[in-house]
């Protein structure tokens, strides 16, 4: 199996001694054979000043890699908390890191759009109160590096309201509170990454039923490598750092969690749902809402209606009010598909303010009433649907239901009008001819019934019920040879079709 191409590697740095540092270097060196032409390396630490030498050392290794492979680009994101009081010390750390990237700046800005090595600060705000203390540091980042990205948790979610701060930062990440464990931050970054990946796939019209981009998490503190964010959250490592990572086994892992089992969709959904619980701005919530809606539709397509309802409900909670009706309607449809008509009707009712004038609203209400056996209500709903000028492809279905409601209410004369109209619009739809045949039969107009049913069997020569109905019409006309022939035909198609067998038995007895 082809080894995966790594696009992102998250490294959780520890207080490494020389051996630990070498172990990490060896691991990264092996993994870098399999990184994408452009790779994002996240170096996460809870205390940058403590590990700055280690970060410098990694940057030097990355520099050597870039010297060797001049087609490659590495974006190093340094992820660490800043409290405000330590801004000066953090600035001094970056002064040291700057040395390693400067030569690539010269190489890059002279000839290219962006340099091949970028060092991108990703600040986990860990202070209290207003973050003015951050401004000088962020300004310095903007001048000497690139604008920093900001990681916000529930407590610091007010920060984006600070316009000045917003102008100084490149991107905002969101998390679930920073308790001092940088692993939590890495998990949140991974979740957001999956949400971003899924959203961008949707925007580009691509499927989300695929594995996530192969992103590894290397925990130097644990000495383990995790194959994806989900595995990291469950603490199920792929391999130990000490070993020689078998990229083939990683490929098998990604392959086995493939599309065929729908596991990737489930995983994306689970992580997106986790992410949605963080303190997020409205736009991000809506983005996840759109993703959930799409996932709901995927479940719906697969006939997984319970899962679809779950996704749509999640989407409903995250989406804006004006999208509520369309989501609710999908939930109603799912309830309909699992024959939970009461729940469906209750859900459809909530969409009435938006869809009162839409034919499909009344149609699906009618379908629910119809299947509940409440034909009078169904008739009213279908009549409203028909009056709302539905497109021709929908009209046939509405008229068919209308006619069938009349038939079921014993209003056979009334059924003729919608069913005849349905035959004109949907000449090729077998069911309308069958229903029309039934109405004529009940009205004892056997010739018209036979004509209708003949059209039905012409459209579907395997329709057992229609042959049996033809037999019944001939029987009533006392045309027994034809009646027998039709019942025999029905039985030939389905020897277990009891009504045909009993009729035949009776006719033969008479004969």
């Amino acid at each position: 199996m082809t080894p995966p191409i790594l696009e992102k590697i998250y490294v959780i740095l520890g207080n490494a001694d020389a051996t630990g540092q070498q172990r990490l270097a060896d691991t990264l060196s092996r993994l870098f054979t399999h990184v994408n032409l452009t790779v994002n390396l996240y170096l996460a630490t809870k205390n940058l000043p403590e590990v700055v030498s280690q970060v410098e050392w990694i940057l030097a290794q990355v520099g050597q890699y870039l010297d060797e492979y001049r087609y490659a680009r590495v974006y190093v994101h340094v992820v660490h908390p800043v409290s405000g009081e330590d801004a000066g010390e953090i600035g001094r750390c970056y002064e040291r890191l700057k040395r390693h990237k400067d030569r690539f700046d010269r190489e890059g800005y002279m000839h290219q759009e962006v340099p091949r090595l970028m060092v991108l600060p990703l600040i986990v705000w860990h202070g209290t109160g207003k973050p003015h203390a951050l401004h000088p540091l962020l300004e310095w980042f903007r001048g000497s590096f690139l604008p920093a990205a900001l990681y916000l948790d529930g407590e610091s979610a007010f920060l984006p309201l600070d316009e000045e701060l917003k102008a100084l930062t490149e991107k905002t990440y969101y998390g679930d509170g920073y308790s001092g464990d940088i692993s939590d931050v890495v998990f949140s970054l991974g979740c957001q990454d999956i949400v971003d990946d899924s959203s961008s796939r949707l925007e580009s019209g691509m499927s989300v039923e695929v594995s996530c981009p192969p992103n590894l998490i290397v925990s130097a503190t644990e000495g383990k490598i995790y194959s994806c964010v989900d595995a990291f959250s469950k603490r199920q490592p792929w391999t130990e750092m000490d070993g020689n990572p078998d990229m083939g086994s990683l490929a098998s892992f990604y392959g086995s969690s493939g599309v065929q089992h729908g596991r990737c969709v489930g995983c994306r959904e689970r992580l997106a749902a986790t992410f949605s619980q963080f303190s997020l701005p409205a736009a991000t919530r809506r983005e996840i809402g759109a993703l959930m809606y799409h996932l709901g539709a995927l479940h719906q397509d697969r006939g997984q209606y319970a899962e679809a309802i779950h996704s749509f409900r999640h989407s409903l909670n995250l989406s804006s009010a004006d999208e509520g009706a369309s989501i609710l309607f999908q939930i109603g449809l799912c309830h309909t598909m699992v024959c939970d008509y009461d729940a469906a009707l209750e859900t459809f009712e909530k969409t009435a303010p938006e869809y009162e004038n839409a034919h499909f609203f009344h149609f699906y209400q009618g379908v629910c009433y119809f299947h509940k056996g409440n034909y009078a209500f169904a008739l009213e709903a279908f009549s409203k649907a028909a009056a709302l000028a539905p497109p021709s492809e929908d009209l046939v279905g509405i008229l068919l239901y209308l006619g069938t409601c009349h038939n079921n209410l014993g209003q056979y004369e009334a059924a003729l009008e919608p069913l005849n109209k349905a035959c004109r619009w949907g000449d090729g739809v077998k069911e309308v001819w069958s229903s029309l045949g039934f109405s004529y039969f009940q009205l004892k107009n056997y010739d018209s019934a036979i004509a209708s049913l003949k059209r039905a069997v012409a459209l579907d020569p395997s329709s057992v019920a229609d042959y049996a109905s033809l037999g019944a019409n001939y029987r009533e006309k006392r045309d027994f040879p034809n009646a027998i022939a039709m019942f025999e035909k029905a039985l030939a198609l389905d020897p277990g079709f009891t009504p045909a067998a009993e009729n035949l038995k009776r006719l033969r007895r008479k004969g």
Partner: protein
């Protein structure tokens, strides 16, 4: 022919009469070229642009089709910003495909990456020959080859013809014998330029990359077509006129239509006509569009042309045939600036053309630039105002960019006369001035400000499609 001396000699190949400057090893007795057709040979063509999504590599496609028609086996790989590709992947590809020749299409902004890949390729197999071609290579100074140790050839003439000559030489076991259209390095490090090589006048003589299925349609979102090549105009910033000797050559309408049908059959519904001026011969384009309509081929079409080559009827016809977007080159909306670009299209003509397209319901894109000769900061702001006034959405190709000074352009040869000052002089020989300049009329800081101004006015954050 006197092959005994060291002087230049005329050598007659199957393709052309070329001036041959024999390298020193030429006179070794065992060097009898093998007929190339006896040597099965694989050629790998690479286009790498890590700054943009992958698009159909039409030029490499033509070369691949031409090489395949001549018995070579060709693979194309395109590496865009979203293409997953690793060192291990490339090494595996080199091991499995075993190309003996690798060709790169190089642009100013991608040349470093091409050179990086060339180095990797040579580290895997020193015997693989590496050629670079494309806009960056055509007029690159020959001396630049000495700064590109992992490149064997700079291809300068018509891509199909030149690469075929190189491929034949490599396949024949004498990679530097009988070459034309290239610059190469001799064993002693001397740089040797060969004579130029003309391509076909009649473009139909080149096999179609579409009809020969050179491309992987499963990954293609949009087909790029080149129904003509070259431009007869003289815009001082443009590479095309000199590259094509200010001539324009064409495919027949029959051939384009045949390709179009095939593309449609393959399920592609977006066409991008990359001709510099597709309406240069209106009757030809009219014929093509009419036949697309007659055959019921439904496409969304993007095309570009000059503002002085359109009329209202033409626009209506384009709309009916599926043209959704037409792009015009405005460059600058300051008359005193544009009059010095030798473009010979007035701002009024551009405004009229925009109106015609918009009246026909076609979206307009405008190519504009800042940092042009004699342009002041205020002039450049006029361009932005013009775009807004004419209701052209600032997104996609309408996002403006700084003028780039490329090899082969008039301005590259004469920048001092236009009061342009490069910001540094220590760039490698394979890089042109590009965007690293300021002018007497605009400082580098003002250029940066304009960049930010356009970005601030952009609806999509300033992502261009075409550079």
């Amino acid at each position: 022919m006197d092959l005994g001396g060291q002087e230049c000699t005329v050598w007659i190949s199957a393709d052309a009469i070329v001036v041959f400057d024999p390298p020193d090893w030429f006179f070794l007795p065992f060097l009898t070229p093998l007929p190339y057709s006896l040597c099965a040979m694989n050629v790998l063509l690479i286009e790498m642009n890590p700054f943009a999504p992958v698009s159909t590599p039409i030029s490499l496609g033509y070369m691949a089709a031409h090489l395949e028609a001549n018995g070579f086996t060709v693979k194309i790989i395109t590496l865009g910003q979203d293409t997953p590709f690793s060192r291990a992947g490339l090494e595996d590809l080199l091991q499995s495909f075993q190309p003996r020749l690798v060709g790169f299409s190089a642009y100013q902004r991608t040349i470093l990456y091409a050179l990086g890949l060339a180095r990797l390729i040579k580290s895997v197999d020193q015997e693989i020959r590496v050629a670079i071609g494309g806009p960056q290579a055509t007029f690159m100074p020959s001396s630049a080859l000495s700064e590109m140790p992992h490149v064997d050839y700079i291809c300068r003439s018509s891509g199909e013809a030149t690469l075929l000559v190189v491929a034949k030489a490599v396949a024949g076991g004498m990679p530097f014998f009988g070459l034309a259209g290239v610059t190469y390095r001799e064993r002693d490090g001397d740089i040797c330029d060969t004579s130029s090589l003309d391509g076909y006048e009649d473009l139909d003589r080149y096999p179609s990359p579409y009809l020969t299925d050179v491309f992987d349609y499963s990954k293609m979102r949009e087909a790029i077509l080149l129904t003509s090549r070259g431009c007869p105009h003289n815009c001082i910033f443009c590479y095309t006129p000199r590259a094509f000797n200010r001539r324009i050559t064409f495919h027949s309408v029959d051939r384009v239509l045949e390709e179009t049908r095939w593309i449609h059959k393959k399920g592609i519904r977006r066409l991008w006509f990359a001709d510099p001026n597709i309406s240069y011969r209106w009757e030809r384009l009219e014929n093509l569009l009419e036949r697309i309509l007659q055959e019921g081929l439904k496409f969304e079409i993007w095309l570009q042309t000059r503002a002085d080559l359109v009329n209202p009827d033409m626009m209506k016809m384009m709309k009916r045939a599926g043209v959704t977007t037409v792009a015009f080159g405005l460059e600058s909306a300051a008359e005193r600036v544009i009059s010095r670009l030798d473009k010979k299209v007035s701002i009024g003509q551009v405004a009229q053309a925009i109106g015609m397209a918009q009246a026909a319901g076609i979206e307009v894109e405008l190519f504009t630039m800042f940092g042009l000769p004699y342009e002041t900061f205020e002039d450049a702001q006029e361009t932005l105002a013009f775009v807004r006034k004419n209701n052209v959405k600032i997104m996609g190709n309408t996002n403006s960019q700084q003028m780039q000074i490329y090899f082969g352009t008039h301005i590259n040869e004469h920048y001092a006369e236009y009061h342009i000052r490069p910001l540094n002089s220590d760039r490698p020989g394979y890089i042109s001035v590009g965007s690293q300049y300021e002018t007497d009329h605009m400082t580098h800081g003002e250029i940066r400000k304009l960049q930010a101004l356009w970005r601030a006015n952009s609806l999509d954050g300033g992502k261009r499609v075409v550079s």
